[in-house]
Symmetry: C2
Subunit: 449 residues, 2 copies
């Protein structure tokens, strides 16, 4: 499978190099949209991406477009002629259209919106009316709802009439006269049932999400409960849309992307790595790096305070990277675990004390193990007093780092910030400075400096 893709990629690149556009077109026509998406994602030259995209037939172009990242979509749109753009914009799903409006320059978005039919425009505007990052932005307003008193036979007829434009017909919300959700029924249950049974007899309790719910947590509930789709309701339980599991999976992948990037002190790239310009990558990292470097000036100041001690026993300097590194690693471990547990909803902001108490104990056990080892090694190489300094510092530093690493993401969540903002490197920097203080305080006491 992967080898096949490699040979497709090699042939496409060769054909692009010699500008044999009809060969490129034939290659693309012979492959599935997901493979074409991979090809576009791994093509480093923007011009070649645009060429390939323009060579797709209309149907593939639409399907490929729906599978692309938002950043790539905006780039392709900007490279196309206005008529082509208007055509794509009209034909994609309303939820994809709402995402795209956020992505495009305001002028372009406005012109495109004006080109829509009044009905399509209204649908899109209604999605844009929900807050950014709410599930309302990602839902589809096109669904088929059933009434509870319908027979199965009539329900299937209704679905055949109304189902063509719907996002999904595999999960069908059952509503009352006021569009309030009374339950859901799966197409599977309808197909398996006798034609004279009623929808009310087959429907089960609906697991709905609120239209203003945070998109990530709503998506996670859908995926965790292994639902095919979930009705989206307003404050009065009236249905306004539907979210399918494939949309939910995509939302989660983007959220996990963001978390992964933040844990590494970078902002997520909006598009595939190889298609992002070097300066785009720099931009995603430079702010964090500067913030961290400026915070690290703290360590210079701490060491400045202990400069006299250092002059007296230069050997102390040898262990600085080992101790700060261990503190950073211990803090990073705790932060990573807790951030992930928060993302999965396994712990809540109010569990902060329970989490801190676990991490105190975990940090102490880890510190005791490393400390014993450090004591033994440093005693052998230097002397027992120096061994005691290293050993005790490791115990104290690991306990503190684990506690801080575990508590920081919890505090971030409590003030409704992204827990991943207090990322691993941020915690490392904090641990660097505190571990130096602990180190020199213990050293001056034990070595009598």
């Amino acid at each position: 499978m992967d080898d096949e893709f490699e040979s497709l990629r090699a042939s496409a690149q060769e054909a692009l190099r010699v500008r044999d556009l009809s060969a490129v077109g034939e290659l693309l026509a012979a492959h599935d949209p997901p493979e074409i998406v991979r090809l576009l994602e791994q093509e480093p030259h923007a011009a070649d991406r645009a060429v390939m995209y323009r060579l797709l037939d209309r149907e593939s172009a639409m399907e490929v477009f729906e599978l692309l990242d938002t950043g790539m979509r905006a780039e392709l749109i900007e490279g196309l002629r206005d008529e082509d753009v208007a055509l794509i914009f009209e034909q994609i799903d309303p939820d994809d259209r709402a995402q795209l409006v956020d992505e495009l320059p305001a002028g372009v978005a406005k012109r495109l919106m004006q080109g829509l039919s009044p009905a399509e425009r209204e649908v899109t505007l209604s999605l844009l009316g929900y807050p950014r990052r709410s599930i309302g932005r990602y839902m589809s307003p096109e669904f088929v709802r059933l009434r509870p008193r319908l027979t199965v036979g009539d329900a299937l007829t209704h679905i055949r009439h109304r189902g063509a434009d719907a996002e999904t017909i595999y999960l069908l919300p059952v509503t009352d006269d006021a569009r309030r959700v009374e339950g859901v029924v799966g197409l599977r249950e309808l197909v398996m049932a006798r034609a004279d049974e009623t929808v009310a007899g087959l429907m089960v309790e609906a697991r709905t999400v609120r239209v203003t719910d945070d998109a990530e947590s709503a998506a996670r509930r859908i995926v965790e409960a292994q639902l095919l789709a979930a009705p989206v309701v307003d404050g009065e339980d009236r249905i306004v849309g539907i979210v399918t599991i494939d949309d939910a999976s995509r939302i989660l992948e983007e959220a996990d992307d963001e978390d992964a990037a933040r844990q590494g002190a970078a902002e997520p790239l909006r598009r595939p790595y190889l298609t992002t310009p070097v300066l785009g990558i720099v931009r995603s990292r430079v702010v964090w790096l500067l913030v961290l470097a400026v915070s690290a000036l703290l360590t210079v100041q701490v060491l400045g305070v202990f400069e006299a001690t250092l002059e007296e026993v230069v050997t102390l300097a040898l262990f600085i990277p080992l101790l700060t590194g261990t503190a950073g690693n211990t803090g990073a471990q705790a932060a990573t675990t807790v951030t992930r547990a928060l993302a999965l909803g396994e712990v809540r902001a109010r569990d902060v004390l329970a989490v801190a108490w676990r991490e105190v104990r975990v940090g102490f056990v880890l510190g005791a193990l490393l400390g014993l080892l450090g004591f033994a090694l440093a005693s052998l190489v230097f002397d027992v007093a120096f061994g005691a300094v290293i050993g005790l510092t490791l115990v104290a530093v690991c306990t503190l780092a684990a506690t801080v690493g575990g508590a920081m993401p919890m505090l971030a969540r409590a003030v409704r910030a992204d827990p991943a903002v207090f990322s691993t490197p941020f915690i490392s920097t904090f641990c660097d400075a505190t571990s130096l203080i602990i180190y020199f305080v213990i050293a001056t006491r034990i070595l009598g400096l």
Copy 2:
């Protein structure tokens, strides 16, 4: 929604505290399986989890069981009476059963397998015959296949007869006499079509996965292509099972869990954070921490080499944590981005040179920005020569760290190891040692030591 859950949790904990089991039972009966799962995941006492689980009625117990992590499943199984276990084991899906066999002590698993009906045992054994981490372990062997010449009416009748036990009937593989996959058709298309159309006229090309494919990459292809399900085929394209998007999403969540943990230098927890014993958390971290601490001994040795230089200019020691920290952060950023791009399939092992070249440029630009700042500050506080040392060191160190951070995960992938194993902290430790060498070499040259 979240407040409701909090009040459920508070009531459940209070009822457990006073041992009012009928109240606990009523609370559980009034809530959905996904909420009960959350409740179990946030309950820190194993005994109380077991009590709650035993109070569920049979149907909820089964549904809750299927939604739990593998670690939690094994724990609950071990706490139940043998008859209850045998009942659960017989009733869950074959793919869940195969996962559970891996999780349980060998003796328990063997006894349970013997209790199965011969047919169920055979199905389970066939899944266990595929390698660990292959998609074969996660697929369902229960599906409904159609023949191309069937009419839509006959196909629907066939589905009604055979569909009850199938994992899904929303995607139906179409096969020839030798069970080779010729295409797939959605239940949606069948329901929307006229009864006299044929399956062959409605079917589309199948996107299949190979039974021995790595589970994570197969799952990612399914989610990225937004498929409801994919047929799983053997080496001769014969169908052996089916994987649904909800199984695929679950595989991806577990893989992302593992990546997130590894990035923070810990092994993933097998179960929710609050339900993992303190020593379990220690176990997930201690090996990595020891490996990193032992590698950090390298920094002690490097500094030992330059001890004389340090004694001459103690001020050099003040900047050690700042420089190693910045190198570590730069390396971490590159490693995180590249690891994620590898996980998403955006870059391949053979792109190692392209990735390294991008990171050389990104690292140089970042280093130049930080270096200018460092030069200015250090020149003001100390003198221009010292400023030049700090500035030049930052340029060199950032360039090297980004390159190494970007290349390491690529090299890991090239030798078929998990890229996240060369995790952020591992790269930080490596960068610590090299940045110290660079620092002291530049310092001795410029300051003429």
